[in-house]
């Protein structure tokens, strides 16, 4: 349902993604793993066009957009693809001047021009789904990190995106709070939400991902089904990386 074809991303002379192609099936959960600076975050941000690929093709559902070096992309086209996506950030990035429910309603009322009452109804249902129904009118500053991230998940889901993009959704949280977020994302996965996540969190990746893409230095080193890739990586590089993650998680 999502196709990234031959995506290249340059920042000046620095080539961050070198012809990456990934296909993501509807209802699947894909984890992008790999060392820092390997390009997983950039790849994720190329899906909702917070970064514009230098070249390549992006397809989300029915919408397709091709990129060519030096060619400016119309903001109308960016909007068209971006509206198929929702994003969860490492640092939550809730709007601090809006309450939990206002954060969730914002995309519905401002972007989709829903009437307030209908938006409120949907926002309430989503906050309930992420276990935040008791904090509907709370300011973000009064919520724990895990609670903020759950509100952020509800906000991202509000406009019914085709895919939920998660950029290190648990990295800013201590293990206990991370677990709340893992649980919510796991529940969404089991309901068939299509997700792509960049993550260091092996617990997150192994619990909910069914596909894994291992990225290093801007290329896909290995990809495949999560269970087989984690249990039996084909490439030596992947094997070493997964061993390091395991070691960190057990040690820390």
């Amino acid at each position: 349902m999502i196709g990234l074809t031959d995506i290249e991303k340059r920042f000046g002379d620095n080539v961050v993604l070198k012809g990456v192609s990934v296909a993501i099936a509807e209802g699947s959960v894909t984890a992008l793993v790999g060392p820092s600076g390997g390009g997983k975050s950039t790849l994720l941000r190329c899906i909702n066009l917070l970064e514009i690929p230098t070249s390549g093709t992006l397809r989300i559902g029915e919408e397709t957009l091709a990129f060519k070096p030096g060619e400016k992309v119309a903001s109308k086209d960016i909007q068209r693809l971006r509206r198929q996506t929702g994003m969860v950030f490492q640092n939550f990035q809730l709007f601090p001047h809006r309450t939990a429910i206002e954060n969730v309603m914002e995309g519905l009322t401002t972007v989709l021009k829903w009437p307030v009452e209908r938006a409120r109804e949907r926002a309430l249902a989503l906050l309930d789904k992420v276990g935040m129904a008791h904090k509907v009118d709370a300011w973000p500053a009064t919520l724990s990190g895990g609670q903020q991230q759950r509100v952020a998940i509800a906000r991202a889901l509000a406009p019914s995106p085709k895919v939920l993009l998660c950029d290190e959704p648990t990295s800013a949280l201590d293990p206990e709070l991370a677990q709340e977020v893992v649980d919510v994302l796991g529940q969404l996965a089991s309901e068939g939400t299509t997700m792509v996540m960049a993550t260091h969190d092996l617990r997150l990746a192994s619990k909910i991902a069914n596909e894994v893409v291992f990225l290093e230095a801007g290329v896909v080193v290995e990809s495949g089904q999560a269970t087989s890739l984690f249990a039996n990586p084909q490439r030596e590089r992947t094997r070493r990386f997964i061993a390091t993650l395991r070691h960190e998680q057990e040690g820390g």
Partner: protein
């Protein structure tokens, strides 16, 4: 009743009338227009095309770098030489607006820049356009940070309107000067004028405090960005 008190009470009427009819409208109008100019200039400096950026930088350089009194004299007494004749009040209004525009543009530019990039991205990620992100997400947060420095500008402006007396605007300070001219009591009248300016500034400081409390109701937003 002592003489000084009687004189103050007798002149209170004309002074307050001048404050109501000239000082207050001059302050409110030039601050409002000045903020609009400042916002436009700030947006051009942050997001505008390069030639336009050069133009607005030149404007800020001129209006911050020359005395306000000289600017008012140039507009009111200087421009007629090139065929532009303005009444005193509009001349003062233009002068103060451009001056406030230059100073406030720097404040607005700084506070817009102080909103983290992640807030733009969050706004974009739920589908907002640049304008929606600016209006709904960035400006409200920037506005909160801007209240103390813009209040400074506003309070300075209230007092600076007394300079308009020099280009014949019959505002409060000029009203005091006129009474001095017939009573020969400069100390009493100028103390009275000073007290009235102080009262106006105090009201504004109190309003600033109330506004800050209101805007702070959502708590420390630094923590919210963890």
């Amino acid at each position: 009743m002592p003489h000084w008190l009687q004189l103050m009470l007798e002149s209170l009427g004309p002074l307050l009338w001048a404050a109501l009819v000239f000082t207050t409208p001059l302050t409110l109008l030039s601050f409002t227009f000045g903020l609009i100019v400042g916002l436009v200039v700030a947006l051009i400096r942050l997001f505008g095309p390069r030639p336009l950026v050069a133009v607005v930088r030149f404007y800020v350089w001129i209006f911050r770098g020359t005395p306000l009194l000289v600017q008012l004299f140039l507009i009111f007494y200087g421009l007629p030489s090139v065929g532009i004749l303005l009444d005193a009040f509009p001349a003062a209004l233009i002068g103060f607006t451009l001056n406030i525009g230059a100073y406030s543009s720097e404040i607005i530019r700084a506070v817009i820049g102080s909103v983290p990039k992640g807030q733009w991205e969050a706004a974009y990620s739920i589908g907002m356009t640049w304008r929606q992100a600016m209006r709904r997400t960035i400006l409200p947060q920037a506005g909160r940070v801007a209240v103390p420095p813009l209040s400074n500008t506003f309070i300075s402006l209230v007092k600076d309107t007394s300079l308009a007396a020099a280009i014949t605007v019959p505002e409060m300070f000029q009203a005091a000067q006129r009474i001095v001219a017939v009573t020969y009591e400069p100390l009493i009248l100028y103390v009275e004028a000073a007290l009235l300016y102080l009262a106006m500034s105090s009201v504004l400081s109190a309003l600033q405090a109330r506004l800050e409390t209101r805007l702070n109701r959502y708590g420390g937003f630094l923590e919210a960005r963890a």
